[in-house]
Every structure is written in structure tokens, then in C-alpha cells.
Symmetry: C2
Subunit: 225 residues, 2 copies
DNA sequence: CAGATCGAAATTGTATACAAGAACGCATAA
DNA sequence: TTATGCGTTCTTGTATACAATTTCGATCTG
């Protein structure tokens, strides 16, 4: 329980950024954060450095820390990589899964089914995370599992936003079933195809979602308005 | 020019670790580093944090920073991921490469050929890096390019160690030629296969290399004299 | 009135001082 | 001789003080 102040600050900020409580582009004032957490600037700076390294904030030299404004194009790029990493996890899982991991995977899948039957979108979100984590853990490559989890965390806000799209849960669940079956059957190529599609769907949904919502002129629409 | 002290320290330490001038398991004393670089502990700590985030050093709470001792198993895992990322770069490059990037790729390839003809292993190493970087840049996905470059940097010492293996340069060069041809022809699946093999060869060479050298140096072997 | 230039305030980057915990050694006892 | 307990010392973690740079605003000039 003797937690380091810097870690407390980092975790709290991480949550704020990931959950969208601090919006992209906002500047993170060291002094203000220090006061908010009741510490000095030193642990705050340490936390900001760590967040910068994990890509959540951008550190402009002598200008402060800004919540990284990830453009639509980059999010699509990230989903592209995410699909590949997750597909590799699934491929290796299909190749190497053992009894223990199989049990965990089935359990996580069942938990998703339960949440879906209760139409509890929030619970489904969390259990969906656990389901994917179970795949990562089953891949037998801890480094890959960590990398994939990292990227997944960075994509959290963009996935979260489109889980409320109509019928997405039903579709997601059906894909989960296919994934589980393919992994247990050791069908590597099949599970890779399913997972890639499973992830890329999210990227596409995100893309069409933001295009329908808002014309954020950050990148594309050059001379708009 | 007006470089930050913390960045200078970080870059210098990065080089020391990557080039093996500081061995895995060694503790990085903040005060000693501060004196060595003529700065205070503050920028040193910042540098260590950044290095920890990029996985080069391990930060044990209230115990200091240690150069991360990456086990053989993890290196093999990292090569497994590396092969996948690089193959994805190549696939996307084959799909989307344009004239400018093609020129750069050809130029980088020719530079490798020149270095090989002069049997200059050191020059070949650097130009090989540039060749792979050219592929990353041509993939049209800046995020993927950055991730791949990052991982490549982390694997540097393990790749470097086996470039001196006999005839590896010749084999490498031949694979480069196949990669260039496949990318220019837009043969996605073909280039993926070649690249995966190209990278995994390195992982296997590393594996057999260390197995031939030493029995079980699973952890530190830091103070080996 | 517009623009530039200079200056003050605010903020980041670095150094130093202080607090707390861990490593190490020494002494003592069995 | 060895193991254990205590205390010193060294190192990390945090706070504060100082330096340097940027930003914003006011004033002056065309």
C-alpha cells in the first residue's frame, strides 16, 4: 500500500485521458496537477514522462504536455496494426493453446454471452476486454501479449464509442463464438481471418461514425467551410 | 542545438545499452550518471524513466534502475512479433507504394549491394537498416512504421551479433532483391512470405548462436569477468 | 488604427535540499 | 564459527528553490 505518488498520478491521468475526461489537445499544467493531487511538480513530471512514452500525451519541449490529439487517419492506422497483432495472438493461440487457457477462454466467452442476454452494454464491454485478454494470454508469447494489450488500451476510447451501435453486440458475440471454435480446432488460418475482420470492423465503424458525426477539419477536408 | 540535458543523457544511455557497453543486469546509479554527464540527478531520472518505458531498463521501486536482462526466450518472442510487423509493412508497401518511395527503396537496395561488394560488414549493417526503414516508410501507415522501427531498435544488439555469421550477407542481399521485386510487382502474399522468412532466420540464427555459446545464462551473467 | 517591439508574468527545465527506505557491515551471542 | 540484530550509510523518492525560455499584453510608433 506504500504506493509511489508518481504512480498514483500516472494512473489517475491515464484514466482521465482514456475515458475522455481530459480532451485531446488540452494542455496539462504541471502546477495545477500537482495541486490537484497534493504533491509537488516532481512526481507529476515523472508521470507525464511515462504517459508521453506510452503515447497518451505529447511533450512539446518547453511548451508543456498536451493530450495527444490522435487524428482519424491515425486511429484507422492503429486499428490496422491492432488487427494484425490480435490475429497473430489468435493464430498462436490456435497453435499452442492448452487446457488451462482453454478453460479461461470458454469462461470469458460465457461471461460475454451472459452480459449480452441481459443487454448490459457496460458489462459486455468489460467482459469483452477479458475475452480478448484471454486470447492474448493463450498465445504463449508474453511479449506479444503485452504489446497487443498496450495497443488495445490506447484504442479504448475509440472502441468504447461504437459498442453502443445497434446490434453490434450480437454481431460481436457471434464472431467470438467463431473465434473460440476455430482456436479449439486449431484452425490457424481461419481464426486469423475471423479476428482480422472482427477488429477491422471496429475501425470501419469508427471511421463511418466520426464521418457521420462531425467534420473535424484536422486532416482531410482541406478547404472546408 | 539547444538540446535538453535529459535528452542528451537518454540518447547516450540508449546507445550504451543497445551497443552492449553496459551489460544487462547492471545497476544504473543515478548519482554516478549525473556526475558522468555533468548534470544533476533530475534529468538523469527523467532519462531513466523514458528508457524504462521503452523497455531498455527495468525500474525496481526504491531499488534503482537495472539494464533489462532480456532472456533468450523473450528475444525469440520479439523476433516473432518483428516478423509479423515487418511483413505487414511489406504487404502494405506492395499495395500502396508510389514512385518516390520506390526510388528510395531501390537506392537503399543498391547501397546495400555496394557495401556487400566491398565486404564492408559495418557499412552493410547501416545500409541494411536504411533499406528496412525505406520499406517501413513506404507502407503508408506512419503508426505502423514507428512501431516497427521501435521494435527493430530494441532488437538491434541481437541482430548485430549475427551479421558476422558466414555468408549471411549474401543470403540477406538475395532476399532483399526478392523483396524489392515482389513489392514493385504488388505481390502482397509473396512479399509477406519472404519477409517473414527473412526476419525469422535472424531469430533462429540468434537462437542457435546463443545455444552454441552458453548453457543456461537465463538471468544475469552480469559480472562475468 | 495596425503592427511591432519590449517587458512582465507564467511555465518549463534543472539544481539542490530533505525525507524515507533499503543495503551493508559490524558487533554480539550462541 | 556462524547467525542474528541493530545501526550506519548509501540510494531512491519528493519537495523546494533557481534559471531559462516562452507567451501574452501593453505601449509606442508609423
Amino acid at each position: 500500500m506504500n504506493e509511489r505518488a508518481a504512480d498514483r498520478v500516472r494512473e489517475a491521468l491515464e484514466e482521465d485521458v482514456v475515458l475522455g475526461r481530459i480532451l485531446p489537445g488540452n494542455r496539462l499544467d504541471e502546477l495545477a496537477l500537482a495541486e490537484r493531487f497534493g504533491v509537488s511538480r516532481t512526481p507529476v513530471r515523472e508521470a507525464l514522462n511515462r504517459l508521453a512514452a506510452s503515447g497518451l500525451v505529447e511533450l512539446r519541449a518547453r511548451r508543456g504536455a498536451f493530450v495527444k490529439a490522435i487524428g482519424i487517419a491515425q486511429v484507422v492506422e492503429m486499428f490496422e496494426v491492432m488487427a494484425e497483432l490480435e490475429a497473430l495472438c489468435a493464430r498462436l493461440a490456435a497453435r499452442r493453446i492448452n487446457g488451462e487457457h482453454t478453460a479461461r477462454l470458454l469462461q470469458a466467452h460465457q461471461a460475454c454471452i451472459d452480459a449480452a442476454e441481459q443487454a448490459d452494454a457496460d458489462a459486455y464491454y468489460h467482459r469483452n476486454e477479458a475475452f480478448h485478454q484471454a486470447i492474448y494470454d493463450a498465445c504463449g508469447n508474453r511479449f506479444l501479449a503485452e504489446q497487443t494489450e498496450n495497443l488495445r488500451n490506447r484504442l479504448t476510447p475509440y472502441r468504447r464509442m461504437q459498442l453502443h451501435v445497434r446490434n453490434r453486440i450480437v454481431g460481436s458475440l457471434s464472431e467470438h463464438q467463431q473465434i473460440v471454435d476455430a482456436i479449439r480446432a486449431g484452425e490457424e488460418d481461419l481464426v486469423v481471418a475471423i479476428v482480422k475482420n472482427h477488429i477491422l470492423i471496429q475501425g470501419e465503424k469508427f471511421h463511418s461514425l466520426v464521418q457521420g458525426l462531425d467534420a473535424t477539419p484536422s486532416v482531410s477536408t482541406a478547404g472546408a467551410s
